[in-house]
Amino acid sequence: MNRSIVAVLGAAALGVSLAAQAQDVVKLGQIEAQTGTLATYGWMGYQGAKLAIDEINRKGGFKVGAKTYKLELVSQDTRGNPQEALIQLKGLLEQQKVKYVFGPFLTNVFNGIEPYATQNNGKFLMMGGATAIHAMLGKPNHEYLIRTWNWDAGESGFGQLMVDYLKKQGAKKTAMLFQNDAFGKVAVDIYSPIFQKAGIDLQIELFEPGTKDYSAPLAKLAAGKPDFLFPGYTDAVLYDIVRQATETGLFKRFFLVRGSMGPGLKNKDLIDDYIAYLPKYFEDAEKKEPKVKEFVAAYKQYYKTNDFPYDQAPLCSSSCYDHVYMLVQAMQKAGTVDDVAKVKQALLSENYRGLWNIRFDHTGEAVFDFDVLHMHKGGNITATRVNPH
């Protein structure tokens, strides 16, 4: 009889304990394109966030006050489609009761969800990299926004610093070949005045997303005899543009503010200069920075691969990885997991030294150090660390 009572009480206690544990979970939503032609950023962001969450949970979670919490990732694939993203965001906020959302990285997706997200201002925090978020930071009813990527323009903007570097290379004329989509148009708006101010002529051609053969625009642009080609913003197009431009000998000098070194390295013998903005030159950092070395090893182990995506990782994975840790630190500092305003305040006061050195300015926009990589003919790379803090 006694044994039965002990068993019942034990089971009840276990049930109560499990119920309490079930409640102590902080859900992190994520709305990113994980498939489709613009999936690189979202896919890498998903991988970085998942890895960080797994690490934190395996260590038993994190403490806020007396309570220990675990993290749960609720990740949705927007496929780059604003309508799908809107439905997914509604699901995250209304059904899943998520208070922290990572993403989106795509401007068209952000534009599609912005009105709904703004209606829910104060109820959640959105940490996205989309360029269009920049214009909304600091505006009334947009307190839910934090932008997780460096801004291009302005004195400490990475784009401005990149164009300054380009000018030092003697560039007088540059041809910009970008996707005709939401970000492509924003990029033209951002970079036209920067180039104009630097005294560099800018020819612009926008191409239809999904294009694979660039013979026509490359021939058209090359006729203007520019010094550098400033091509698209994702590797999905960069591989083809750089290959076709070098194969035909139309361009040998490239300038990039988004995308990876991969396309340049593939064609290193046909390229004179390949200048790229990269938040972190992983190949180099892995040798010098213990945290980066640990991250690469953890990534390989978690995803059961020997191929670390060196050229893709800096685009997002490592930043999302850091952002999860930053968010946890902010919750601990704020002493709450529910009060998003306090957590945001704590985030803005952080100066995080993870894989990257990240802080947010007063508007909620990330400022982090980055590398200007300059690949010369044959593949020799020089890296210049730029600290815009």
Binding site: L206, E208, E247, K266
Partner: protein
């Protein structure tokens, strides 16, 4: 400017043959099975990744990798036919739904296996050919020649062999063909497998020119269907010409008109042609 236009005429024709090879699959499948197989785009993607895998990962010489990719894609087509398409024969809507479902499944599988990071085959045949100031990569010319050979060989096989004539007979009157001893079920399966093999060949050759990503087939299947409609469904040489016309329209149109709407030029052209020739440019011809 003349050079730029001539260059785009030639380049458009080359790109057009890639549209044409998939369009040929579309037109054959529709003629024999009565379905518009949108999944031929993902079979093209399958062939492209297979060629990349056989060549860059397993180290097979590129020509062997292409043959292996075609064989694997045709085998995948056979599996798809026996598991799915044979239940949708002559049912346009069901066939369309199955092919759309197959696109979603195969693209998701490709993303899981190959990720969204573009894959690029090593340069199979580097270098360019310069003719009268026109610059063309050697590999593009090889792809062009190979596709022309395959399309004309298909045409010859359809017009000069018993099986080919049986296929035409079946397309015109299935009951009469069956009564004359044509093994209709085997013929339909054969055409689906052959069309998938053609798409696989297109993909394997595509891999030598462009980077690969899981969604590459979606763009091509739309162009291929556009080319097949432009030519008139059922015409083999028309599929090739439809593709070439589309490629040239896009290439030359991009010089004078904003590049951002390149896909629209082909569609506008298609609408204009259909206004005057509703059955397509080469309808009724083989």
């Amino acid at each position: 400017m003349t050079q730029l236009i001539a260059g785009q005429l030639l380049n458009g024709a080359i790109v057009g043959t890639l549209y044409g090879i998939v369009a040929l699959g579309v037109t054959l499948t529709f003629g024999i099975t009565g379905i518009v197989n949108f999944a031929l785009g993902v079979f093209m993607m399958f062939g492209a990744y297979a060629a990349w895998y056989f060549s860059d990962t397993l180290g097979l010489p590129y020509p062997l990798a292409v043959l292996a990719a075609v064989a694997v894609t045709a085998a995948a087509g056979l599996v798809a036919d026996q598991a799915l398409f044979r239940f949708t024969r002559n049912n346009l809507v069901n066939g369309l739904l199955v092919s759309l479902g197959l696109i979603a499944v195969l693209e998701a599988c490709a993303l899981l296996v190959f990720t969204s990071t573009p894959k690029e085959l090593h340069r199979v045949l580097p270098g360019i050919v310069m003719v009268a100031g026109l610059v063309l990569p050697k590999m593009k010319l090889v792809v062009f020649a190979l596709l022309l050979v395959v399309i004309f060989a298909t045409y010859a096989a359809l017009t000069r062999t018993w099986t080919g004539r049986a296929a035409y007979a079946y397309a015109q009157n299935p009951e009469a063909a069956a009564l004359m001893g044509v093994a209709t079920s085997r013929l339909q399966t054969g055409v689906v497998v052959y069309s998938c093999g053609l798409a696989g060949l297109g993909g394997a050759l595509y891999a030598s020119l462009y980077s690969l990503e899981p969604t590459l087939g979606s763009l091509f299947i739309l162009k291929a269907i556009e080319a097949a409609i432009l030519a008139g469904i059922g015409s083999v040489t028309g599929a090739l010409l439809g593709g070439v016309i589309l490629g040239v329209t896009e290439g030359v149109g991009s010089i004078y008109l904003p590049l951002a709407f390149r896909d629209a030029y082909g569609l506008v052209f298609l609408v204009v042609i259909l206004l005057f020739k509703p059955a397509g440019l080469f309808a009724g011809r083989r």
